[in-house]
Symmetry: C2
Subunit: 146 residues, 2 copies
């Protein structure tokens, strides 16, 4: 199948590579509606001096802008790293249908919490191309240490 | 004392009134550094069709922009309603020193969760001018029902 989760995660990974090249923690995201990418974004917290500029937050804003409405029902967010609490909170408000992430974030990922943060109607899939997504993060932090 | 928490909460309430006039859920926020307001914002989720446009999120971005750095150490956020999970997650990343809120949000406030969401170094004060802040919310929702 052409348009499977791995296909769109590769699109999110392209965004993560842009972040990497810009010396940002390499996280990328896309929002997909009926097999069409309607928003792309990558982490820009350093360039914008803004802790809210995570890939997911920008992708949510861009997708809502594209749709002309704030709810992302029927949309799927693909993101290379498990969303943090802030992004999970934003995804809750958006009522997005699906969240697919690559690498787990054992330190700041939303799923480490006891409380459920996403909307009960939101389906979550983790680990899609997880090794590739985690590998890019590791490469970034290894370079920082050199 | 002139510059106490009630003084700055009144500034946040002014912002909440702007939201009210624009038919947005009336929540306002200011960020204060050494008794100076460095950022002001009010909820714009309807006008911008954007679930991330809470008063707090915009105030965090504006304050970081003012400071030229993403961390809000030594700053205090005053917000008329208890922050939600998204905003608490953003406040965590900002490492803000203090969060002062007015009305409690028993449904979506961050403190209803079992997990601590804010940074351990962040001091939290709730209920400052709580009646005025809650009263404005009630007035808004009563009008909607009419």
């Amino acid at each position: 199948m052409l348009f499977d989760d791995a296909y769109f995660m590769r699109e999110a990974l392209k965004e993560a590579h842009y972040a990497f090249e810009e010396e940002e923690i390499p996280v990328g995201a896309v929002v997909v509606l009926r097999n069409r990418v309607i928003a792309r974004a990558h982490n820009l917290t350093e360039r914008l001096h803004d802790v809210t500029a995570h890939a997911e937050m920008q992708a949510i804003t861009a997708a809502a802008n594209h749709l002309g409405g704030k709810y992302l029902v029927d949309c799927t967010l693909y993101v290379t790293l498990e969303p943090c609490v802030m992004c999970a909170g934003a995804l809750y408000w958006s009522q997005i249908s699906r969240v697919v992430y690559g690498a787990s974030d054992v330190k700041r990922g939303f799923s480490r919490l006891h409380d459920p943060l996403l909307h009960p109607k939101t389906e979550v899939v983790g680990g899609v191309m997880g090794e590739e997504c985690a590998g890019l993060m590791l490469e970034f932090f290894n370079r920082l240490r050199q």
